[in-house]
Structure formats: structure tokens, C-alpha cells
Subunit: 555 residues, 2 copies
């Protein structure tokens, strides 16, 4: 493989979330981002979904560095799991911007992973990572300290953009480093791995700093209390909410654990400036008149245990929503969360409060560049090869078409998928043999590939419930020596039908008698027969297929 | 109650779906619509959701008529269940337009309900229904033969609009009967119960007939096969797809059972006109060149077993999607279906086919009027009272605000909820004591109120799985006489941990020993202790709370 650059996405292609990429040269590896995603509704009981990183486990010794583009969960959330698997001995330096490092450190602390070699890297500074020169390039996004990653080896430079927009008036005054991108382009970028999230939106994303004045305008029309919900990590948004509240003489309460945590980190790093005396505690909310208060809350995605969801269900200990209150969604639903968000909104209306969303006023700005920004990125960096990242199949396709529209040779556009390595050498670029990739699930404290058995069982259990039949048979002749126990859970409408349980008992006795007549005494065979007989009986009577679990106890 | 008109919504308020309304005068009842809704993701294993119609069951003898505004499931789908409950003896005449009656008859046949007194009623014709004069008023909507219902008693007239828009150029050339609405207004409408679905959209909905030319234009740009997906009941849309196909010399294949069924019914009633020779069978699809074919398919909402979803999963027996094909969504996702629709679209992209949605071209028209149409309805009918229907809490609120904006006295606007009767008499209108209302679930073949036990169990089972512990004890002294059996389902990561099962066995033996020492021999008490001990052990070890089911067998 020497002499070839390999770019292997382990997550984020053909999906939205769990971004993770392996960049390889001379058998040495740099990992860009270690993200997770949240489970779909049919992934029952699953807490988190991670990329399958078997490849990293097997190549642990070859990893020169892990570099994180920014602090969002879909770019850093899998790091504790990755570090646990590759072990402290093989853990390479982990680079990121100051906020990224601070947020990740706090997360690793929760996982009791200490002494991890986290290193702040300033944009523009180069460090060596094996055969690569590694450099962060400043980008704008919905969290401070977002960067792209330029990895330079003998063959040329790969740029993984991370999430980005070209915001000309970002809240912190430091726009994306267009001039460094142009410089990379002049030197001749080898491959561009770019964010596809908003490729389907024409034009350019509105600037983050345009949100503030609109928030202030909306606040000005509210007579009662105001609750603003947004992503806790969007520290510049929180800044703008605080500024708008201050301008109107309102106090600010931070509601929700991650909101308080992120604001604290942001303050320590100087990303957010909250004037003295404006913050009030959640318990003091009732001490201020309604028109003197703004609460900033988690829960913009309708998350089940979030502060806003609890308010919507009349279940928040300090903040009870009522007529006169206005809840402002300064965020839009991530695809897949529409139902949860709409339910939350409607609950708030039911309580009598008013709701204002980004459909009613321009109070949200996306952190991902629109089509014209993606074109600008391609034109700035003049890549030899374009490899669209971060998007479902539709967006990857559209990003490819867009690259062709700005003049990239269609042969130089690669529509990939997770696990499919793009190999680039002096002769060109091509996809090569796929590596292992996919989903692994975190459930409670464990994680791994549980798809096959446990999830299938859970689906059956959740759809039709379970029947358990306990038969006690004699070890001598296999005859039934106690009344069969019939237990069911999640099977509706049976509570009132005692007769049915009696009938099943009859079916069990009959099945056991038949087995005894046929001289079947092996327990597992008895159970098989019992299963088939009871399942058939239940289906004939209920037209349902609950999980039937026969237990034969021999005494 | 004599002398008072009561309007009691049993479904459709504070939600989207399962519309059902009881209108009552002099203790006699007319039921307007008997709709259902489809379950939310957390209603595990549920097939359908119906309004709780206990009220109708108890008052079965008082029902003078059931009247159906149109043939959509959220307005007629619960009828078989209602009829089964009130019984053939009490079944009143059931009125609707010709297509509504034909579709309902076909549905009742499937439920083996025959000899039901279904009666076609032409708009404008009045029939007596106890103290009411009952009349259908022609409306426009996304299915032919849609009507509002005017119910006139001594006190005045109630108008239940059903779903409507004011389409000035409907495909069948028969617009909503504005003049009859105006006449009702001149006579003085007592109460208007109006559709709120699109109250949040400004302006007026585009005409259904505007869709056809755009479809033809989009078809003209497609070089390969075309698959159009839409609601099977939107017969005018199907007509326009057929016309566009015909204009471009393409054949048409109908894919999906309900598509074929509805087109058949529509043809019999003259609602759709398909020229000779244009229809081809699904099995003949491969006999025609790609550019000569349009398939019209079910599945526009990403429904799990629909034809399009099967195509997207490469699992349709006759139609395999491939590069060059174009799938056109001539429909938008109903709120809550966004995820299923987006998944379907992305799967289609993954197969290499192209997708065009209503975001890309104006190839869909909503069947529900926008804000200006709702205002027009209020102005036309000049109601004394406005009672917004068909919408979640947000839409009901907005509809009320809109009524006030066109000059209705805020005191005359009623924001209701399911089960809350609005009573109107000579002195005014007011909400009175609530009646029973809510959801009942259809699961397999049964239906009823299963919320409490079975659904809660299913949620636990789906989230954490189940542990079953079978202990066999002596009837004499309660001592364990066989090795405890430990069975689990839906609990991941244990397959490889045999030791854990051994440890649980230990915990079981210990629990039984303790009970024996404490002279506990009553089975139910033994089971309680066993449950608590095992649940604690499992939680301590796994940090999960599966359903723990102890079974003690006495021999």
C-alpha cells in the first residue's frame, strides 16, 4: 500500500451522523472525528449508535493521531468507546480546537477516562503525525472552534472539511480561513472530503449574527415570560439570546444540565460574555415578574428527558408553562426528530402558551453551508478528486452533481459508502476492496453488534408480547406432575378471558401426552414440540404471533 | 337537554386524524364521520387507533343517522368497528356521496358486514334524521364526492365542513357549492365546525388541475421509466398522471392493491377516464421500453408494506428500480411520516434511481384550504359560533385567531377538545360536562382500551427485554427441588457470558433459602421476593431494568 493514500470513511456516508474517517499513508493512520448517532425508533431500547470501528481496533498500533473537527456529538461522541477499545497503551495524541478539547475532556471524565493525551491545536499550526503533516483550518459552524483538517503526505494533501459554512459575519468575528483554503488550492489539493448536509438548499446560509436582531425584535413583542430553546453547544446563539435579553432589561435563567455546563465551558474559554447580574438561578425564576425573564432551555429537538419536554408535559420542577408565556424555538428539527418536536410544540399550545418557530421569524441560522458555499469550497481548493461526505445517499449524489457543475471531471467525483476505501496514487484514484463497517449499538453499559438476536426479539416482544408456558414433568416417564403455568405479558385483551388460559393449559397437557406416547423425553425436544403446539393454538385463537417460550422443568 | 343543540367531538380535536362528531338535539343523534388514525411509533404493535366511542354504544338506540363527508380513512375507517358495536338492530341509515358509499361498501365487505343500510345522498337533497334535516354540501378535496354536512333543527343549522378547499378549477369541473354556503349564511348559520388542517399556510391552496401540466413537464424530462406515487384515493391525481402519460405516448401500470381497487371503483362511477389500450398489467412492465412506461404506485407515505417501499428495498416482484428510473412523489408526507418517507427516498437514491418531490416541482396540491379559504368559509356562512375542528392544539388556536381576525366575537369562538360537548340554546353557547372520549386500539383482531397494561409491558419489553426465572420448590417445606431455569430474551450481550447465568442461579437459590428461613411458603409472596431479589441483582450487574418474571412451581 506504500505510495498510496487511502481515505476510508467508517461513518457519515449514506446517513446523517456518526462521522468517522480513516486517512492512511504508508500503513500509518490518522483518524478524523469519532462521532455517534442517535437511534431510530425501530432500534428498540438502544441508547446510542456508533460506527463499527473494528478496523481501528485491529490497526490500533498504526494510529498516529486522532483529530476532532468540532465538539458536536456526531463528530466526537464515540471517542470514549474508541479509546476504551484501543487501550491506553495505543492511544495516540488527540487534537482539536480549545473548546473541542474542553468539551471532550468533560465527556471523558464522565466515562472515567483520565490522562488521555488531549492536545489543543491552533489553526494554522502544523504537527507531524507519522507520514502526515496535520493542520487545522478555521471554519465557521454552529459551535465555536470548528475546523477542517488538512493532512499532507508526499503524495499531496487531503482536506476533510468537517461541518462548515462561510459565514462572513460570525459572532466571534473570525470567519473561515478562506485565504488558507485558497493557498491549499494553489498548492493543488489532492482530495476534498466535503460536508454535504445542505447541498439541497440553493444560495448561501444566513449569517449567525443575523439571528440576534430578529431575536430581540421577537422578544420585544412578548409580554410574558420567554423560554428560548436551542442547542446547548451553540454558544454564539446563547450569547445572542443573552444580549437580546439584556437589551430589553430581562434576566436570564439557564435551564437544563448541558446548557449550564456548556455555558460554563464557553465562559471559561472566553467564547461567551455574560454581563454581571444578568444570570439568575432556576429556583429564582418565580422571584421576577414575567416580563423581566428569559429562560434558555435544552430540548429543541423534543428529546425525551430534556427540560423543555418536561415543561411541555407540565413536569418541570421549577418552570411551569402557562398562558402568556412564549416558547421560542431557535433551532430546526434534525431530520427524524420532526414528530418529537411537533408533539412538544403542540403540548405547549395545549398548556395555553404561545410558540414561535423558525417558520414564523428568522430566528435560526443553519451551521451548514448551502449549495453556493459548497461550490465556493470546490473553487477555492481546486481539488483533483472530490469525495462527498456527511450526507445520505441523496445528498452525496447532489454534491457530486454540484461538483461536476463547477467543472470537476465526472471521473474525479467519487460517490462512496461507509467501509469503501478510496485509494489514490500516482496513477489515479479508485475504490478498492471494502473494509468492515456498519453500526454498533450501545445499550445500557455495553456495546457491540446486537442486531441479530436481541433486536429481533425486542421487535417481536414489542409487536405481539410474550407467552411463557412452564410445564413440570417427571424425570421417570415425562408425565406432567404439576399444573402447567401460563404467563403472558404485552398480550392485550386476555385479562378478561380466563377461559382462554384454561384452554391453553389443555393444549399443553395434550402436547405433553402426545410426546409421552411417542417416548419423547429429551427436554429440548419436548420444548420444541410444546413451542410448536402452543404457538399454533395461540395463532388459531388470537391471530397473533407473540413470542412463545416453553420451559420444561424436570423433577 | 331538550331545546339545546349539542356538538360533541369524539375525535379530531387536539390531533390530526380519527375524526368523529356527535350532533344531538332533543336526545336524538346524528354522527358525522367515523374516522381512525394510524398508530404513533410508541404505540408498539398497535395496528389502528380509533376514537373511544363508548358514548355511541351507550346511546345506540338514539342514533338517527351516520353521515360520511368523504372516503378517507380518517373519516370512515372506524365504521366497521362502530357498526359491530352498535349491532345490526340499531344500525341507522348511513349517508354519503356515491364514491364514499362505494368505498365504504368495499371496506365493510372485507369486514364481512353485509346488508348495511348505506344510502347515496346527492348534494342539495335533504333527508330527515329525527329532529334534523340533513343535507350534504358539495366541497372540493383530494378525493371526489367530498361534502360538508348541514344539520338543521328548530334552533338553527350546524355545518360540519369535513375536509375542504375552494378549488375554482377542480379536475371534475364541479367546484365547492359556494352559493349554497352563502345561502346557509344568509339564513344565519348557528355554528360552523371547520377544517383547521392548513390554517397555518397563508393564501389559498393551488388548484388540483394545476398539477397535471407540471407532471407532464416533469415526465417530458425523464428518459427512463417513471414511477409516480400518490394516494390511491386521489382519483383526480391518478387521472392527471394517466393524461400526462398518454400525452407522451407512455403506457400506464397500476402497482399496489389499493391503487387498482380505487381506480376500478373510480372508473365504475365515471370519476376517471382511462383511454382504451393505455393500461398494462404489472407483469407486462418489462415488455415495454423504459421510455414508454409510467407506473402509478402506492407508498407515498413510506408505508411498510406498500409497493413503493418494497421497490425501495429491492423487494418488489415485478418492478426492480435501477439507474435511469425516476420516482416522482406526487404527495407530501403527512406529519409524523417524514422519517419513513425520507428513508424510502434515500433507499431509492441508493439503488441509483432519481427522485423528484414536491420540493423540486409543483407536482402536488394539498386537499385542504389555506388561511384565506378558511376566512372565506367564515365570511360565506356568517356563523354565530365558530368551533374549529380537525387539527392539533396549535391549529385549533390559530383557526380561532383567524375567526377573530375576520370579525367573529372572541366570546363566540370555542377552542374545544375531544369529549367536550358544546351546548347551544336560546341563551348562548357553552362547554358542558365532558363525556368519555379517548383512544381505543386495534391490535390483531381485537380492539379496546389496552393502554394501561399491555402497552406498558410492551414498552419495557422493547426497551430492556425480559428475564424469566423458574424455580421449582417442594410443597412440603418450600425448598428448591430442581435447578432454577433462567431464560432471557431481548437482553443483549449475555450470549457470551455463561457465568452470569450461573450467578443469577445463585441469587435465586439464596432468595429461596432466605424465604424458607423466614417460613414464607405462600407462592405469590415467594414470587414477590424472588422478583425483587433478581431485579436488584440484574440491575446491579447490567445497569438495565428488563422485565423480571419469576415463576415458582410447586411439586
Amino acid at each position: 500500500m506504500s505510495g498510496a493514500l487511502r481515505v476510508l470513511p467508517l461513518g457519515g456516508l449514506g446517513e446523517i451522523g456518526k462521522n468517522m474517517t480513516v486517512v492512511e499513508y504508508d500503513d500509518r493512520i490518522v483518524v478524523v472525528d469519532t462521532g455517534l448517532m442517535f437511534p431510530a425508533p425501530d432500534q428498540l431500547g438502544i441508547d446510542l449508535v456508533l460506527p463499527d470501528f473494528t478496523y481501528l481496533r485491529e490497526r490500533a498500533e498504526d494510529i498516529e493521531a486522532i483529530v476532532l473537527t468540532h465538539g458536536h456529538e456526531d463528530h466526537v461522541g464515540a471517542l470514549p468507546f474508541v479509546l476504551r477499545e484501543i487501550g491506553p497503551r495505543a492511544t495516540p495524541p488527540i487534537y482539536g480546537g480549545p473548546l473541542t478539547v474542553a468539551m471532550v475532556r468533560s465527556k471523558l471524565d464522565e466515562h472515567r477516562l483520565r490522562d488521555v493525551p488531549l492536545e489543543e491545536l491552533a489553526p494554522g499550526d502544523q504537527v507531524d503525525a507519522g507520514p502526515f503533516g496535520l493542520e487545522l483550518v478555521k471554519m465557521a459552524h454552529s459551535i465555536p472552534d470548528s475546523c477542517g483538517v488538512a493532512l499532507t503526505c508526499e503524495l499531496g494533501t487531503a482536506l476533510v472539511t468537517g461541518d462548515y459554512k462561510f459565514d462572513q459575519t460570525p459572532v466571534d468575528g473570525v470567519p473561515a480561513d478562506v485565504s488558507r483554503l485558497a493557498e491549499l488550492g494553489r498548492e493543488g489539493l489532492l482530495v476534498l472530503c466535503g460536508d454535504s448536509t445542505n447541498v439541497d438548499r440553493p444560495g448561501i446560509a444566513v449569517s449567525e449574527s443575523s439571528v440576534g436582531p430578529h431575536l430581540e425584535e421577537v422578544f420585544g413583542r412578548c409580554e410574558g415570560r420567554i423560554v428560548v430553546t436551542s442547542f446547548a453547544s451553540n454558544i454564539h446563539r446563547v450569547q445572542q439570546v443573552v444580549d437580546a435579553a439584556g437589551a430589553l432589561g430581562r434576566k436570564v435563567a439557564l435551564v437544563g444540565r448541558s446548557m449550564r455546563k456548556n455555558v460554563n465551558i464557553g465562559r471559561q474559554l472566553g467564547h461567551i460574555d455574560i454581563p454581571e447580574g444578568i444570570l439568575v438561578g432556576v429556583r429564582e425564576i418565580e422571584d421576577f415578574p414575567d416580563h423581566k425573564l428569559v429562560a434558555i432551555s435544552t430540548g429543541s429537538q423534543g428529546e425525551p428527558l430534556s427540560a423543555l419536554r418536561r415543561m411541555a408535559h407540565g413536569d418541570h420542577p421549577q418552570l411551569e408553562l402557562r398562558e402568556g408565556d412564549t416558547v421560542i424555538f431557535s433551532a430546526t428539527p434534525i431530520p427524524g426528530n420532526e414528530r418529537a418536536v411537533n408533539e412538544t410544540i403542540d403540548r405547549i399550545y395545549q398548556l395555553g402558551a404561545n410558540v414561535i418557530t423558525a417558520r414564523d421569524a428568522p430566528i435560526h441560522a443553519s451551521g451548514h453551508g448551502y449549495a453556493e458555499e459548497l461550490k465556493l469550497m470546490i473553487n477555492l481548493t481546486s481539488p483533483r478528486y472530490v469525495f462527498p461526505f456527511h450526507g445520505d445517499h441523496r445528498r452525496l449524489r447532489l454534491h457530486g452533481q454540484l461538483a461536476e457543475a463547477v467543472g470537476i471531471d465526472p471521473e474525479a467525483v467519487f460517490r462512496g459508502e461507509n467501509g469503501l476505501p478510496l485509494e489514490i496514487d500516482g496513477h489515479g484514484a479508485r475504490f478498492v476492496e471494502p473494509e468492515q463497517a456498519g453500526m454498533i449499538f450501545v445499550d445500557g453499559v455495553d456495546f457491540g453488534d446486537i442486531e441479530d438476536v436481541a433486536l429481533r426479539d425486542r421487535r417481536t416482544l414489542s409487536a405481539d408480547g410474550i407467552f411463557i408456558v412452564v410445564a413440570t414433568v417427571s424425570g421417570q416417564d415425562g408425565s406432567s406432575v404439576a399444573q402447567p403455568e401460563i404467563i403472558f405479558r404485552g398480550v392485550p385483551f386476555l385479562e378478561t378471558e380466563d377461559g382462554f388460559v384454561e384452554e391453553i393449559r389443555g393444549a399443553v397437557e395434550e402436547s405433553l401426552d402426545r410426546s409421552a406416547r411417542d417416548d419423547i423425553s429429551e427436554i429440548s425436544l419436548l420444548q420444541d414440540h410444546l413451542h410448536d403446539d402452543v404457538a399454533k393454538f395461540v395463532y388459531d385463537r388470537l391471530k397473533r404471533r407473540p413470542l412463545v417460550l416453553p420451559v420444561v422443568v424436570e423433577v
